[in-house]
């Protein structure tokens, strides 16, 4: 596994197979939080952090414990518990470090647990089956790369969307379309744009 493959994995997860727009993971927070750019920023950092760490821990958990014990089917429970615990840790950490941020994030912080993007990336890393072609260490690094790429992709799209959303809310839109419906159409157009990146690497 060369550096080229590693960086391809990052770019691929970030842009070519964008986590939100092309793989449909993390859409709920995507639509819910992206109303203001500052809370969007705080949210993305938190999600990115949990995504990368959770992927790493789940990957190791799967290959070092579940597979040798032949209980791979416990995957879902194990992963979600890892994520829930991580979110608890992050919550405690933020509470101690910055009460302001904790307050502004409010209920969205524990809701990170139910962010399909985090569990989705963790499960996808297993499903991609890197170990069929690489050693465990290389596969692990590849999975970290994918998680980092996915996290960056999530942050990128969230941020761009928040900026668009701010303008949308100020615009004159027919009442039935106001809010989420028109945002979804915008998301669809963004998805079309990202589709154009397919086949670059």
């Amino acid at each position: 596994m060369t550096w080229a493959v590693f960086f391809t994995a990052i770019v691929s997860a970030m842009l070519i197979n964008n986590v939100v727009l092309l793989r449909f993971l993390g859409v709920c927070p995507f639509l819910g939080v992206s109303k203001k750019t500052d809370s969007a920023f705080g949210m993305s950092i938190a999600v990115m952090f949990v995504m990368v760490i959770a992927s790493m821990v789940s990957y190791l958990l799967y290959y070092l414990i579940l597979v040798p014990l032949e209980i791979e089917y416990v995957q879902t429970i194990a992963f979600i518990l890892v994520i829930a615990s991580l979110v608890q840790l992050v919550e405690m950490f933020i509470k101690k470090v910055s009460k302001g941020l904790y307050k502004s994030l409010g209920i969205y912080l524990p809701l990170i647990t139910t962010n399909c993007a985090i569990l989705g990336v963790a499960v996808q890393n297993i499903a991609d089956d890197f170990v069929a072609d690489y050693t465990l260490m290389q596969s692990f690094l590849l999975s970290v790369g994918t998680a980092v790429g996915a996290a960056l992709g999530f942050g990128l799209v969230l941020f761009a969307f928040a900026a668009i959303r701010e303008r949308l809310d100020a615009a004159d839109i027919p009442p039935a379309w106001k809010g989420v419906p028109v945002s979804l159409i915008v998301a669809g157009i963004m998805a079309l744009a990202f589709l154009g990146l397919g086949g670059i690497v």
């Binding site: 727009l21 709920c28 429970i77 518990l81 139910t114 399909c116 989705g120 979804l184 159409i185």
Partner: protein
């Protein structure tokens, strides 16, 4: 003028009878989990390329929702508040794992098509929300009905989106591809469908179709709200008029006396 007093008792019992039926059907339009509460959007986007896959996912969600509602309702008095959420998560993920294994064994084609979205049922906010807000506070039977109602509504939403996308993209509604019912075919089949738009098969189309249906449901809601507003206004006008009438009658009675 004597006002008719409607006996309060009748209202209450009538409400209870309709209660269960209303719970079952409320999920379709009035409280549709996808279009009104915006829950479960990830699977709504990902598995609705065809009607059949949307239906399949809906079935799985109904199972998990109902089963976890039952369990949560059964042990609702025994779970300490501190470990509420983690326990719910464990219960839900148990049923998700079970449903995943069963699908992998007996509905292989559906399993391959739904892919990672089967384990992702565990983070479908709909299920956790119902467990937290309803099943933990109600008896088992009501919880079952609630779960069924919401689940059916979810399935309805998914089927609606899937129907639209599949029709716009291919001009045909296929069945039998993912469920081994022995027959394969199409409900409608416009071979000469000129306006086939492949974009609805892909991610962009998913967003757009959901946006469209959301706008429709939003319009329905707004319409209802408008109606309620108008009815309220009318009632206020009516009350004012009655009060004015009474006043005039009092005055005229006073004059006569």
């Amino acid at each position: 003028m004597a006002e008719k007093t409607i006996p309060k008792k009748t209202i209450k019992s009538k409400k209870k009878e309709l209660g269960q039926l209303a719970t079952l059907t409320k999920g379709f339009i009035r409280e549709n989990p996808v279009f009104v509460y915006l829950l479960g959007l990830c699977p709504a986007l990902a598995v609705t390329r065809t009607l059949e896959t949307g239906f399949g996912m809906g079935l799985l969600v109904i199972f998990v929702l109902v089963m976890s509602n039952i369990v949560v309702s059964l042990i609702r008095n025994f779970i300490p508040t501190e470990v509420k959420i983690p326990s719910y998560i464990v219960i839900i993920s148990t049923f998700v794992t079970i449903v995943g294994l069963v699908t992998e064994a007996y509905l292989e084609a559906l399993h391959a098509s739904l892919g990672i979205f089967i384990p992702l049922i565990v983070v479908n906010c709909l299920i956790l929300a119902r467990a937290e807000s309803f099943a933990s506070k109600n008896k088992v039977f009501s919880s079952v009905v609630d779960g069924l109602g919401m689940g059916l509504g979810f399935t309805f939403a998914l089927m609606l989106i899937g129907l639209t996308r599949e029709f716009l993209a291919t001009g045909a509604i296929a069945y039998g591809e993912y469920f081994p019912i022995g027959v394969k075919g199409s409900l409608i089949n416009f071979d000469t469908y000129v306006f086939k738009m492949g974009v609805f098969d892909g991610p962009a189309g998913g967003f757009i179709v959901i946006g469209l249906w959301l706008a429709v449901f939003s319009a329905i809601q707004l319409h209802r709200q408008n109606k309620a507003e108008i009815a309220k206004q009318k009632m206020i006008e009516e009350k004012k008029r009655i009060a004015l009438e009474r006043k005039r009658m009092k005055e005229s009675a006073g004059e006569q006396a």
